[in-house]
């Protein structure tokens, strides 16, 4: 059996990649994907713990996260399209105002 720590390390690496991408990237789509990456890194640690301790609640929680992530993706993509229509760019450095 693969030890828990391996999963956790992988989960940490995934989360760190997400953070790094969020901070470095300028393209708003990539930033969005980085957020998904972080969520999934966390999901991995949830299921790993759930498998380790034989507790279902961790796995249930992962579904919640997935649902929220899907909803978020829907709304987020809609916003991105709206932004692109007004600003004609996906570079976040140019979308730093809360007004048009």
């Amino acid at each position: 059996m693969v030890p828990l720590s391996y999963y956790l390390v992988l989960s940490g690496i995934l989360f760190a990649c997400g953070v790094l991408g969020f901070l470095i990237k300028r393209n708003i789509i990539t930033i969005f994907m980085s957020i998904e990456l972080m969520l999934n890194g966390v999901n991995l640690s949830f299921v790993a713990f759930a498998a380790q301790w034989h507790a279902l609640s961790g796995q249930v929680f992962v579904f919640f996260v997935m649902v929220v992530a899907a909803a978020e993706a829907t709304v987020g993509l809609a916003i991105i399209i709206a932004v692109y229509r007004t600003r004609e760019t996906l570079n976040v450095d140019r979308v730093n105002l809360l007004k048009l």
């Binding site: 953070v19 969020f22 901070l23 976040v92 730093n96």
Partner: protein, 663 residues
């Protein structure tokens, strides 16, 4: 009239002038001068009438009267009330204060009529009367202290009445500050009384003192006595705190007469006499009082010789006469001191008012060298001033003779007296006579020397606040209006007959119940009988001293008016020393004032205030700014940098938890 009824009237006497002060102070600005005068005079006159009424119904048998108006402080066994007290001593003071005060109120109507601050002046005068009467009628030391501080306040307001003049404002401040030094001593004395007697009531304090033994060595009573004397020296202008009184002459002349000659400055004498029970058992304190009084009398009299400002001469004369009163108190002759206090109020009040009339008549000039020959221009002022001058010089049968002679005799014969006090007293009497007649001759005799001064009178008229209604130049000196002369006549009459009540020891006998605890120092009756011859001899000597002073002044300032200048030149440094008032002000300035200002500037101002308090505030603000400067870059407005900070913060938290977990 029952004693209870009489007692219950006491508190109305101070309250009447207070009402006058309040009405004039609040509404006087828009009132007509007639209305202001009416209110001021009616309320002051009512207080006088009330005092007369009380005096008429006063009976020594039922004295002292006392009346408690309201509770004030209650703390455990200690209590102080607003209560009033009347015995023979307060009655004398009451009559002097209201009587002389009322006359000076009348005089002020004429003297201050053209001043812009007329309503203010009248309100202050009434306010002064309120505090002075509170002081005199108080039944305990704390109420007395209210009056004591209040008259100081009124004095400050009136000295600085022409506050736009720098010198007047400075003189007011000086009077107030010097008085604070005295008040400090007075307060400590009160604290000692509270600690040891548990009360400030006159009756209870003296009852507590009564069984205490005579203190041959310094003890509690000596300490209280000396501290009270510090207070008295401040208020009554004795060495070393007399310096404020001559400067106080910056105030309007009626103020000098009322506050700085007749009433307020005698408060110290009154307080010492009131505390006779304490002083009586503290011979060391008594000796100090006598020495201070004697030295002040001589010292101030010598300064008076060389002054040229008519009011300054009278101011130093006042200091000197107050010295006599303290000398009397110091040798245990309290009633003689109070007697002199009363006659002094008459003739010194008169001297100041007459001097005011002179100043008024010559258009604001106070320098005697620019007067002269005024007896032809102002005969009534001359007449009244002459009465006062002869009275203060001690010519019989005028008032000053009786009281001064009483003091000198007591200074010699009292068990705690000594021929040294008597000798200095007689020398002072001679000097007093000399400088008073010098003033008299310089002002009223010879030729008028102010002629050329009058050509530039218009400029002076603007410079001096005593403005006249005269259009154009002031012209020759003129007599004052009747409203000013009236009080002069009354006071002149009192200066003549005021001393007669002391003939045959009647005054002393009247006051005896107040001072009956002063039993330890009375000479045996037979000794008093056998010394009758000595008393007459000493009386003749003091009259001779007065006549000698007169003759000397006559020779120097009437026969040969050029001689004094030559003598002054001949004396050189000595003359300059006296004319410069022994440079006491300069010495005080170098010894106390400069170091205090210097210390305040360098240590308190630059050191503590700027260095610690301001620096703490400034530095904390500066530090906050530094920190903000360093951290404000975090708030860049760039969303991703915020995310970076969040990530970094999360990393730190996790690292901390991991580290804690490992440990």
């Amino acid at each position: 009239m029952t004693p209870q009824n009489l007692s219950s009237l006491l508190y109305t006497i101070p309250l009447l002038p207070l009402a006058g002060a309040a009405i004039n102070g609040f509404f006087g600005r828009r009132a007509s001068k007639k209305a202001i005068s009416t209110i001021a005079l009616v309320f002051c006159g009512a207080a006088f009438a009330m005092a007369l009424f009380i005096a008429a119904n006063f009976s020594s048998a039922s004295a002292p009267y006392s009346y408690e108006l309201a509770h004030w402080l209650r703390s455990g066994a200690f209590s102080v009330d607003f209560s009033f007290y009347l015995d023979q001593l307060s009655l004398v003071m009451l009559l002097v204060v209201t009587g002389v005060g009322f006359l000076i109120h009348i005089y002020s109507v004429g003297y201050m009529w053209d001043d812009d601050g007329y309503y203010r002046f009248m309100a202050y005068l009434n306010l002064f009367m309120f505090f002075m009467l509170t002081l005199v009628l108080a039944a305990n030391y704390l109420v007395m202290f209210i009056g004591w501080e209040g008259v100081g306040l009124a004095s400050y307001l009136l000295i600085g009445f022409w506050f736009t003049k720098d010198s007047a404002a400075a003189a007011g401040k000086k009077a107030f500050i010097v008085n604070r030094i005295g008040d400090f001593g007075f307060l400590i004395a009160l604290f000692l009384m509270i600690q040891h007697f548990g009360s400030l009531d006159f009756a209870r304090v003296f009852a507590a003192v009564q069984p205490m033994p005579w203190e041959a060595h310094a003890g509690l009573l000596t300490a209280i006595g000396l501290l009270l004397m510090v207070g008295a020296a401040g208020k009554s202008a004795q060495i070393p705190l007399y310096v404020w009184l001559p400067d106080a002459m910056e105030g309007p002349t009626p103020v000098s007469a009322l506050i700085h000659a007749a009433t307020m400055v005698t408060a110290g004498v009154y307080m010492v006499a009131r505390s006779s029970g304490i002083f009586d058992r503290a011979p060391i304190a008594m000796l100090v009082v006598a020495i201070i009084g004697t030295l002040t009398a001589l010292f101030a009299a010598t300064i008076g010789i060389a002054q040229t400002d008519i009011k300054k001469v009278l101011a130093y004369s006042t200091v000197s006469q107050l010295g006599y009163m303290f000398m009397a108190c110091g040798v245990g002759a309290f009633s003689a001191g109070i007697f002199h206090l009363m006659t002094h109020a008459f003739f010194k009040g008169l001297l100041f008012l007459a001097a005011g009339s002179v100043i008024h008549g010559v258009g604001g000039e106070q320098d005697m060298r620019k007067m002269g020959g005024l007896r032809l221009y102002m005969p009534w002022t001359f007449l009244t001033m002459s009465v006062a001058t002869f009275a203060i010089a001690g010519f019989p049968p005028l008032a000053g003779f009786f009281s001064k002679d009483e003091i000198l005799w007591k200074a010699y014969s009292s068990p705690s007296g000594s021929w040294v006090f008597w000798l200095i007293g007689v020398i002072t009497a001679f000097i007093t006579s000399f400088y008073m007649f010098r003033l008299w001759f310089m002002t009223f005799f010879g030729d008028y020397r102010g002629a050329e001064a009058h050509e530039t009178h218009d400029a002076k008229l603007i410079a001096t606040p005593v403005s006249h209604g005269h259009e154009g130049g002031h012209g020759l000196p003129h007599e004052s209006p009747w409203v000013m002369l009236g009080p002069l006549f009354v006071l002149a009459l009192l200066s003549v007959v005021g001393g007669w009540i002391g003939i045959g020891g009647r005054f002393e006998h009247f006051l005896a119940p107040v001072f009956d605890n002063v039993g330890l120092m009375q000479p045996p009756a037979e000794a008093a009988e056998s010394s009758k011859g000595t008393e007459i001899l000493l009386m003749l000597i003091s009259v001779a001293a007065a006549v000698l002073g007169f003759l000397l002044a006559w020779g120097l300032y009437f026969k040969r008016p050029r001689l004094p200048a030559k003598i002054a030149d001949g004396l050189g440094g000595l003359y300059r020393l006296v004319a410069g008032k022994y440079y006491v002000d300069e010495i005080y300035s170098a010894l106390f004032i400069e170091p205090v200002i210097e210390g305040s500037t360098t240590i308190l101002w630059h050191g503590v205030d700027q260095g610690v308090i301001d620096a703490a505030v400034n530095e904390s603000a500066h530090a906050a700014r530094e920190v903000s400067d360093a951290t404000r870059h975090m708030q860049s407005g760039n969303l991703r940098s915020y995310a970076g900070w969040v990530a970094a913060g999360g990393a730190v938290v996790i690292a901390y938890m991991v580290w804690m977990g490992i440990r």
